[in-house]
């Protein structure tokens, strides 16, 4: 997740490793935060891979290695954002995608949300089937964890459904603003 989160931040403008750490602490801390021990090596690796480019900061300042994202980096980010999500890995992985969905075209973002919703739905269906596979009757708390799964994925599905609709609504409104509206 580290690499893509870094690319996501760089997609909004050039930043140093230090900047990225500070931004994470401010805005993504509730689902993900990387240490310098992850960030700096990741930046170095991605530079070698041609995803980002390092430049020095403007003139008089102290050592500040400012990275900017390259086209290959944008492509990798977009590919990640659109790739199938393993919803079972927990909400952090979902939120990391969601947070940077603004980097995609509105249509692609909506498709991605739909994909996340489908993933939650599939997982819930799987859990429903898995519950029957249990050999002995589970105790109260074991049954509860099973029920939690079902209710959690239902929550996710309805939340993502609403998000998809809100995003579509936003899209409609902004295109209506762009072109003067017809009718009414």
């Amino acid at each position: 997740m580290t690499d893509f989160t870094i690319l996501g931040f760089l997609a909004y403008g050039p930043k140093s490793g230090y900047d990225i750490k500070r931004l994470m602490a401010m805005s993504t801390a509730h689902f993900y935060q990387a240490s310098y021990g992850s960030i700096y090596p990741a930046l170095g690796r991605m530079e070698k891979e041609g995803l980002v480019a390092a430049g020095r900061a403007d003139g008089s300042r102290r050592l500040r290695r400012v990275y900017e994202i390259l086209p290959a980096g944008r492509a990798a980010l977009a590919q990640w954002l659109g790739s199938p999500l393993d919803i079972a890995k927990g909400p952090a992985f979902l939120l990391a995608r969601l947070f940077f969905l603004g980097c995609l075209a509105p249509g692609e973002a909506s498709e991605a949300i739909q994909g996340f919703k489908d993933a939650a739905g599939k997982r819930r269906a799987w859990l429903e089937g898995a519950t029957e596979g249990l050999p002995q009757q589970p105790d109260f708390f074991q049954a509860s964890t099973q029920r939690f799964g079902l209710e959690y994925y239902a929550f996710l599905e309805s939340w993502l459904d609403r998000l998809g609709k809100d995003a579509a609504g936003r899209r409609k409104r902004s295109s209506a603003k762009a072109k003067p509206k017809e009718g009414s």
Copy 2:
């Protein structure tokens, strides 16, 4: 999490590493599953630490190293179940505790649930505060991840509240069965 999950399964009876893997696939797969590369080394380590003891399986069978939990292992398990939970690590860590809460006395289990609920509440309050610390106005999707956090922790809190009440109700009913009820 591996060690405690293994201890949790052993608390219900002696098992081999292979048994534990199979049980995980059947009953905890939706939130946690360990590989042999985690399970066997963990069993070996915990044997050295005096938490579990290995015996051979009864008589004629092939090589089967069956482990049983020792009092020190039960103590470690109970301590883990009652220790403060970092709710931000995701639902898997909550569910791992919940799944084995039947290993505690009913009163202790209720206390643990209350602790989990408090953790979710604190986290939600922290998130509410953190939202205001944001410097620039976030874009639509960035604001959405923030909102998700708030709604997710609210969901967790109310779910755990209901679980606590159900568990308490169960406790009352079973003690009422034990002693014939007084009044009415």
